[in-house]
Symmetry: C2
Subunit: 366 residues, 2 copies
């Protein structure tokens, strides 16, 4: 909108003061090596397209009808897959929408919300959107999270786990400690990348839901299920937490998931084998990418996600990002204190890694 | 959630005080004559399923990627169809989401929002969600809207046109008058049903956008385009109004429309012929339904929508709704002052009308 002179005369104060989230760019060129938005290098399960095609061939007429407002079939499949009751499962239009509803439902309070100073950059945007005071707790020097640093009155704590963009994992013991020490705060664990952690299910906070009623876990179909294009995210928690989200949803938008997305997401949940296989492939590729970057002198954090956070030996992350860009290789750089010298590089295919490493070697030789 | 004892300990005050929107029920039984949620009796254009199938066969792999965040192709198609610039077009996850963003963008102000006392029942819900004071302006005795009744300071005015559940149309001259008299208020015309008005395009407020920068028009794919199952809605207005909505969207959820919905909705916009044909069929069916109900002694308001608002001669709307229900015919009754004696009946197929009229005749004969 660079050429538009924006007339804000009719805007609410809320609208005037927003600093919207800026997603990683989505350039539409061909032959781009796109390693900037943590998409999965593998396609979704073929059963997703098959399930959606089945709706289109057998029930296309039904697109004239409203979809199931609470996505019951999808939630039922998730409940079975994660050993929960259906009323402990909430779904939304991507985990971004789920997170927005969480902010409105649990953090619009007198006490502040606590979050790491370096984390998913949408959190401060939500805080502004919903008028929530966000107190940022500094990560340790090694970018790890110290639960003891969160000992202060709060409405809640939100932690991406593995954290973004560092890729570091907080242990289940530490999450249990946080939740136990704050029984009257809602502890949101944003597990967008958890399935890429070694032994993902055993480190997921979903297991804590049975013992702690203040733990709310979000996950997404956009990363480990290769469905960023379908916009489905979910939250797992006590039935009372899920009920608040449902009421909030029905005060914004009653039908956030269309009929096709519900069917496709459900098919993805049912195809456990494909899911586990592709997650393992991403983990293997992360290991090889980490090794190759280290061999080129990068410091690479021990990532448990589908990206690595890496610092070139001279710290010139922005120079490298810009030089790679000229060759059609897009990685993400954050112009944020403490992490300017790092690049976040999405785990891609073996071919993409080869192209990246070759380009980095050429740059180093110049 | 009837058996759940809800523990609201962790809920925000906002969450505790919500009275969520209650959509018309979506029963999943067979052989139901569903005339309660104003869905289109005709299927969507076959080109919608074809376009989505093409994505699934040719680009299924791309579901792993985030969709176009601003739905550029879809917005471009809408801009061409409605003779607007692309920056005068906004799309969202159903017009319900678009309306929610409108409330946040333009009505969160000191001055109240004005709306008819009888209108879309989601408006008071949004007002509560966003802390907007809503002043209800009484419809005239004949359920028409008198623009002179809106002469008071306000942040905006929202009017469904044709109005729901009455089906009555406000003239373009009256809308122009409202907008001209309130240059510093945002006048939102919710045209969910406008395509069913006789000569729909000439009564749409979209034409006013070129002369009045405070008119914002919402429309939806759920009614005239038979795509309630796909969740796509839009707003048309000045580039400055659309920019506010875009920023607000990007402070809630950056990617509300999935890749398939974008492709399907675009195909629907391009199939003008099918659209015009099915709208005309619905209009014809509305005329015949109106005549049949009148012949049975119903008072029927002159609807310009895909539903009729009808009062049985004895005013026992709730008794009839309940008796019809026993026969699998679902119509909508609102337990709201002034309209308890009316039923809102969606225009269905000729077969559905026959079933309804037969049932009503039998009831009358009892």
């Amino acid at each position: 909108m660079s050429e538009l002179k924006v007339d804000t005369r009719l805007w609410s104060g809320k609208a005037r003061n927003l600093s919207p989230y800026i997603p990683g760019e989505q350039p539409q060129h061909n032959n781009l090596c796109k390693l900037n938005t943590n998409e999965n290098p593998f396609p979704p399960s073929p059963k997703v397209a098959a399930a959606i095609s089945a709706v289109l061939t057998q029930q296309a007429e039904e697109l004239r009808l409203y979809p199931a407002p609470e996505s019951d079939d999808l939630r039922g499949a998730l409940a079975r897959a994660y050993d929960l009751d259906i009323n402990q499962v909430f779904v939304g239009n991507g985990s971004d929408e789920v997170l927005a509803l969480i902010f409105a439902s649990f953090f619009m309070k007198e006490r502040p919300l606590l979050a790491p100073d370096i984390s998913y950059s949408f959190y401060p945007v939500y805080a502004q959107t919903f008028g929530v005071e966000l107190v940022k707790i500094a990560l340790e020097a090694d970018f790890s999270i110290d639960p003891d640093a969160y000992r202060q009155p709060c409405s809640g704590i939100i932690i991406a786990n593995p954290n973004a963009p560092t890729g570091l994992l907080l242990s289940l013991a530490d999450i249990r400690k946080l939740a136990s020490e704050h029984p009257n705060a809602t502890i949101v664990i944003d597990e967008a990348y958890i399935d890429f952690a070694q032994a993902g299910t055993t480190v997921s906070a979903v297991s804590l839901i049975h013992e702690l009623d203040n733990v709310l876990v979000t996950q997404t179909f956009s990363k480990s299920r290769s469905l960023a294009g379908l916009r489905v995210g979910m939250a797992f928690g006590s039935a009372s937490l899920i009920e608040a989200l449902t009421r909030m949803k029905n005060s914004f938008n009653s039908y956030p998931l269309d009929k096709l997305a519900q069917a496709g997401a459900r098919a993805s949940v049912l195809d456990t084998e494909y899911f586990e296989q592709t997650c393992q492939q991403v983990i293997d590729l992360r290991h090889s990418l980490t090794a190759e970057l280290k061999a080129l002198g990068f410091e690479v954090l021990p990532s448990q996600a589908n990206f690595v956070f890496a610092r070139p030996h001279d710290g010139d992350a922005i120079g490298i990002a810009s030089a790679l860009r000229e060759q059609g290789i897009i990685v993400r750089h954050f112009d944020t204190p403490r992490i300017q010298e790092y690049l976040r590089i999405t785990v891609g295919t073996a071919e993409q890694h080869q192209r990246l490493i070759t380009a980095l070697k050429e740059l180093a030789a110049q």
